[in-house]
Amino acid sequence: MDMQGSRQLVVQQQEAWEALNDPAVLKLCVPGCKSIDPDGENAYKFVTGLKIGPVDATFKGTIKLSDINPPNSYTINFDGNGGAAGYGKGTAQVTLAPKDSGCELTYTAHATVGGRMAQVGQRLVDGVAKQMLELFFKRFNDEMLRRHPELAPKDASKGGGIPKWVWIVVAAAVVAGIIVATR
C-alpha cells in the first residue's frame, strides 16, 4: 500500500518537529497506542491495539528514524508484529515546511501487511488506515491547540488547519503501516 499527502498544521515548523519527536504526544495521538518508549537513539518501541474488520490484535514493534534533518525531514522505518494476526511494516518520508501561519507536513509512505490481516482484512486496510490517519491528525491538532492556546482560531467551530504531521506518517506508519494494504 502506498499513501501520500500533506496537511496544514497550526503550529510553527519547529514546534511541529518537537511534537513529532515527543513520545508523549505520539502516544496520545496514535489511535490505539498503549505505549511508545525510546529504545536507543532515534528509535522507539511501541505497543498498539488495532482492529481491522475481524482482526483485532495487539501489535508490538519498533520505529526507527533515519535521514534526520531537523526540523525539516526524516524517514520513519516501522515494523509491527501482531503474532498470528500478522505484521505491518514499511517506511515513510516526512517533510515539514513553513506555510501560511503554520507549517505543512508532507508524507509519502509505503507499507505492507502480512498474515491474517492481509488475508481477511486487506480490502478493509485502506479505509482503516485513512480513518486512523484522520483521527491522528485530529488528536494532534487538539493537542497542539491545548499546548498553544493562542493559536486557536477565533471561530472555534472551524477547527481549521488540522495539523499534518510527520506523525501522520507515524500514524500512517504505526497505524496505517500496520494496517496498510498490501497493494
Binding site: A57, N81, G83, A84, A85, G86, Y87, T112, V113, G114, G115, R116, A118, Q119, V120, Q122, R123, T182, R183
Partner: protein
C-alpha cells in the same frame, strides 16, 4: 460377469434414492469434528505470515504460560526425528534426471516457504485456549524476497537448496522431431496463449484431524478428513513416523467434500498424531475457514502456449504445447503427477492429431502447494485443446461443430501419440445429441433477440475426453507412481442374508453407499436396505487406494463385482449340495438358486444360513462361511467423453456474463444410478463455471500474501449464476472393468470451462475481442471490450 449381462440386472440404471441422505439432511452425519474422545485436547497451528523467510527464532515462553497450554511443538522438536511429507510420484526429466524433491517437514525447521505454512503447534485443554496461545508465540523471521510468478521463478531467490533455479522438473512427452517436421508442412498454424487460473478448493467441510494414542498398546488412531485413508496410513507409517502399519489406524468417517484437496497427507494430520503420541492424550485440530484458504492444496495454475498445425482443410497435423506450471512451495502427494501424466496424456483430446509434443516446466513458488482439484490435469488439458480447436475453426472460417467433426476419432480402440489408448466412445454421436438438446438450430434467432435488447449472445463448444479409473498399476508404475492403483472389495454375506460390503474407495459426497448397494442387490437379489457399505477405516477394510480420479465405480465397483463372482460361485456349490444337483446345473437369478430345467430351488438367504450353520454342508470340499475379498487392477484407464454446449448472453455495458443455456451430453459408459450421475455432472459443471467466470486464487506479487483469503474476495458460484442444465447421455460400455462404467465425478469440471470461454469469445468477437482469460469477470469482460475499441 461382464457389462452386457450386468446392465440388464434389476436396480441397474435405477435412480435409487441416496441411503446416506437420511443422516446427512437430519444433522446425524458423523464428521471428524463431531468426534470427541475422553480427555480430548486441542491443537492450533502458528502459521507463517511471510511467504519466504529464514526462521531465526520461535519464542514460545509467553505462550507456554497461558491458561490451559500443555505443550508447544516447534520445528526443533521434530528435526531429525520425523520424516518429511513425501510426494507420491516421481517424474523423470527430459534429460533423464529425477525431479528435484525437497524435504517437507510438518513444522518448518529453518525456513518458511509460503504464507500459512505451519511453524509451531500448540496443544491446550480447549480449542479456545490453543487459539489464544498461538497469538503469543513470537516468531522471528528474516524475510527473503518471495517468488510468486512462475515466469520469474528461474531468476528468483531459491526456495530449496535442491533446486537453485526453482525448477522441480522439465518434462516432455511425444515426438518432438515428428512435430517439428509436421509444422514445416502445415498450411495453417493456429497459436494460443492461455492461463489456467489457480483454484482454491473450498470443500464445505474444512479439514480436521483427531488422533488418539494408547501407551499400553503403542497404537494410534487418526480420524481425518481424507479421501484415501489407507494412503495416509501407508505414507505416515512408511515415510514420516516410521512405525509399523499395525500401530496406526486411520479412519475417514463422513467427509464433506474433497475435490482432490483431501487426497494429501497434510502437516496437521502428522502433527496431531505426533502430539498425541508425545503427550499420551487425544489431540484434535479443526481448520478455520481462513486456514483452509491458506493451507489446503490449491489447484491448476498453468501458463500455456500451444500451436496447432493444420492442412488446408483444417485437418490437424500436429500439436505443440508448452506449459509453465506452479507447484507451490512443496510437492504435494499427487503434485508432480497432475501437470504431467494426468495432463499432457490427454492433449490429443477427441481428435486424430498424428503428432503431438508437450513440454512442462514445473516451478516452485512461495505459494500454497498445488495438487489435484476436480479433474486434476485433465481440465487443464481440455482447456488447451478445446480453446485451440475453436480458435482453429475461427481462423479457418469453420464452425465449432465442423472443425471438431472433421477431426474426430471414429475408430476404437485408438492409440494416441501421448500414451493413452481410448477403448470405446462415439464422439460424433455425443456432438449430434448435444446439438439437438441445445437447440443449436434456433441459435441465430436467439442471438437476434439478444441483440435487439442490446446484449451479445455467444455459443461455445467443448468436446472433452478424460482418463479416469486410476488406474492400471503396471502403467502408472512406469509413469512414476510409487503405489499401485488397484482397489479392494470385500463382500460379507451375514448368516441371515444381509450383506456388508467393504470398499477401499471413500465416499465424501458421491453416494457410494447407494450405488454399491445397487451392485449387490442386482447380483444377489437382496433388498438394497439389507446391504451396508463400509468404507474409510483401515481396520475394517482389507486395503484401498481411496477415491479420486473418478475411479470408485470403475475400479472399486470392479473389485466388488469380482468378489460377487466368488460369492455367486460358492453359493452355487452350496445350493448344489442342498438341492442334490451338480454345481454346473445351478442358476442364480433374482435371489433364487434353481436347478436348471426344474422347479427345484432354494433362496439365497437359505444358502447364506447354511454357510454359517453348516449342519448339512459339504465340509470336506468347501469351507463354511460366505465372505469373499477381491482386488481389481484394471487393464486400462477409462475414457469418459462428450460434448458440452454453453450459450451466454453478455451485457457489453457492464461486462456481466449470464449463462443462458448449458447442455451436457456425456458418455459415462454403463450408468448404475442416473440420479447420482446427474448430481455429479451438476456439481462438476458448477465448479467449471466457477472457474470460468468467478473463481481465482490471487497472491500479491510483491508481498506474497494471499489476497483471496476469504469468501469476501474469492467468489464461489451460487445458484443465481447457473441455468437449469440440459443433460443427456450416450453409452458405449467401457471394456476395462466388469461394470462397463467410465466414471462421472470430474467430467463437468473438465468440459465446462472451455465451453464457457468459447461462448464468451463467440459473443464478443463482433466487438473485436480476440482473447480473454479466466475468470471472465465483469471487469475482465468490460476491459476486453474497451481495449478492443481502443
Amino acid at each position: 460377469m461382464g457389462a452386457n449381462e450386468f446392465v440388464n440386472k434389476p436396480h441397474i440404471g435405477e435412480s435409487v434414492r441416496r441411503v446416506e441422505d437420511a443422516r446427512f439432511i437430519t444433522g446425524q452425519g458423523n464428521y471428524v469434528d463431531d468426534i470427541v474422545e475422553a480427555g480430548q485436547k486441542y491443537a492450533a497451528f502458528v502459521r507463517s505470515t511471510y511467504p519466504h523467510a529464514r526462521l531465526t527464532g520461535v519464542d514460545t515462553s509467553a505462550a507456554e504460560e497461558m491458561p490451559g497450554v500443555i505443550r508447544i511443538f516447534t520445528g526443533k522438536d521434530i528435526a531429525g526425528k520425523c520424516g518429511g511429507l513425501p510426494a507420491g510420484w516421481m517424474i523423470v526429466q527430459v534429460d533423464g534426471a529425477p525431479m528435484k524433491e525437497p524435504q517437507r517437514p510438518f513444522l518448518a525447521i529453518d525456513k518458511v516457504r509460503y504464507v500459512g505454512e505451519p511453524v509451531a503447534m500448540v496443544v491446550a485443554d480447549t480449542k479456545e485456549q490453543a487459539q489464544n496461545a498461538i497469538e503469543s508465540v513470537m516468531v522471528d523471521y528474516d524475510p527473503l524476497d518471495p517468488v510468486i510468478d512462475v515466469h520469474k521463478a528461474a531468476n528468483g531467490p531459491a526456495l530449496h537448496a535442491e533446486a537453485p533455479d526453482n525448477r522441480c522438473y522439465k518434462w516432455g512427452i511425444g515426438d518432438k522431431a515428428g512435430v517439428d517436421a509436421a509444422f514445416t508442412k502445415a498450411a495453417h498454424i493456429t497459436k494460443i496463449d492461455l492461463i489456467n487460473n489457480r483454484m482454491i478448493p473450498n470443500a464445505m467441510e474444512p479439514r480436521a484431524a483427531n488422533a488418539t494414542f494408547s501407551r499400553a498398546t503403542g497404537e494410534s488412531t487418526l480420524y481425518t478428513t481424507s479421501q484415501n485413508p489407507h494412503l495416509v496410513r501407508l505414507l505416515m507409517c512408511a515415510n514420516i513416523l516410521q512405525i509399523p502399519e499395525t500401530k496406526l489406524r486411520v479412519v475417514a468417517p463422513d467427509v464433506g467434500g474433497g475435490f482432490g484437496s483431501k487426497i494429501n497427507v497434510y502437516p496437521e494430520d502428522v502433527g496431531v498424531v505426533w502430539a498425541s503420541r508425545a503427550l499420551n492424550c487425544p489431540v484434535k485440530w479443526t481448520a478455520e475457514r481462513s486456514e483452509s484458504f491458506l493451507s489446503d492444496t490449491h489447484g491448476r495454475d498453468h501458463h500455456t502456449h500451444a500451436e496447432m498445425a493444420m492442412d488446408k482443410d483444417g485437418h490437424f497435423l500436429a500439436l505443440r504445447v508448452h506449459s509453465d506450471v506452479n507447484l507451490g512451495a512443496y510437492l504435494a502427494t499427487f503434485g508432480p503427477a497432475v501437470p504431467t501424466y494426468m495432463y499432457a496424456t490427454l492433449l490429443a483430446g477427441q481428435y486424430k492429431t498424428p503428432q503431438l509434443y508437450a513440454e512442462v516446466d514445473a516451478w516452485f513458488t512461495n505459494t500454497a502447494p498445488v495438487d489435484a482439484y476436480r479433474g486434476a490435469g485433465r481440465p487443464e488439458a481440455s482447456y488447451v485443446v478445446e480453446r485451440i480447436v475453436t480458435r482453429c475453426g475461427w481462423e479457418l472460417g469453420l464452425s465449432q461443430d465442423e472443425i471438431r467433426r472433421r477431426n474426430f476419432i471414429t475408430e476404437y480402440p485408438y492409440q494416441t501419440p501421448v500414451a493413452m489408448q481410448y477403448d470405446t466412445g462415439d464422439w460424433p454421436k455425443c456432438l449430434d445429441e448435444a446439438n439437438k438438446l441445445a437447440e443449436v438450430d434456433s441459435f441465430d434467432q436467439r442471438r437476434k433477440a439478444s441483440e435487439a435488447k442490446g446484449l451479445r449472445r455467444g455459443i461455445g463448444y467443448s468436446s472433452y475426453v478424460e482418463a479416469c479409473g486410476m488406474g492400471p498399476s503396471r502403467i502408472v508404475g512406469q509413469l512414476g507412481a510409487r503405489a499401485g492403483l488397484y482397489e479392494s472389495g470385500e463382500v460379507r454375506v451375514n448368516p441371515t442374508g444381509s450383506v456388508t460390503v467393504f470398499t477401499g474407495t471413500h465416499s465424501h459426497g458421491q453416494g457410494h453407499e447407494t450405488a454399491f448397494a445397487q451392485l449387490v442387490a442386482a447380483r444377489l437379489g437382496v433388498a438394497i436396505e439389507n446391504v451396508e457399505v463400509v468404507h474409510g477405516d483401515t481396520n475394517r477394510i482389507p486395503f484401498g487406494m481411496g477415491t479420486y480420479g473418478s475411479r470408485s465405480l470403475a475400479v472399486g465397483g470392479g473389485a466388488i463385482m469380482k468378489a460377487l463372482d466368488k460369492i455367486e460361485e460358492k453359493a452355487k456349490k452350496i445350493a448344489a449340495h442342498l438341492l442334490e444337483a451338480s454345481d454346473a446345473d445351478i442358476e442364480f437369478e433374482n435371489g433364487q438358486l434353481t436347478v436348471k430345467g426344474t422347479d427345484k430351488k432354494i433362496s439365497f438367504g437359505e444358502v447364506a444360513l447354511a454357510a454359517y450353520v453348516p449342519h448339512n454342508y459339504p465340509l470336506e470340499k468347501l469351507e463354511p462361511g460366505l465372505d469373499e475379498t477381491a482386488f481389481f487392477d484394471p487393464p486400462n484407464f477409462t475414457f469418459p467423453g462428450g460434448t458440452y454446449i454453453c450459450e451466454v448472453e453478455i451485457d457489453p455495458a457492464t461486462g456481466v456474463v449470464t449463462i443462458d443455456r448449458f447442455t451436457c451430453v456425456d458418455d459415462f459408459g454403463v450408468i448404475v444410478n442416473p440420479m447420482l450421475v446427474d448430481g455429479q455432472v451438476h456439481g462438476g459443471v458448477m465448479q467449471g463455471i466457477g472457474q470460468a467466470l468467478l473463481e481465482e486464487g490471487v497472491y500479491d506479487q510483491e508481498t506474497g500474501q494471499l489476497l483471496t483469503g476469504s469468501f469476501m474476495d474469492y467468489t464461489m458460484p451460487r445458484a443465481i449464476n447457473l441455468p437449469n442444465f440440459r443433460i443427456g447421455t450416450v453409452c458405449t460400455p467401457c471394456t476395462s472393468n466388469p461394470i462397463g462404467s467410465k466414471g462421472a465425478g470430474e467430467a463437468g469440471a473438465i468440459g465446462a470451462p472451455p465451453a464457457v470461454i468459447n461462448a464468451v469469445l463467440d459473443a464478443l468477437k463482433p466487438l473485436g475481442v480476440n482473447d480473454i482469460d479466466m475468470p471472465a469477470t465483469p471487469f475482465h469482460v468490460w476491459t476486453a471490450i474497451h481495449n478492443a475499441k481502443a
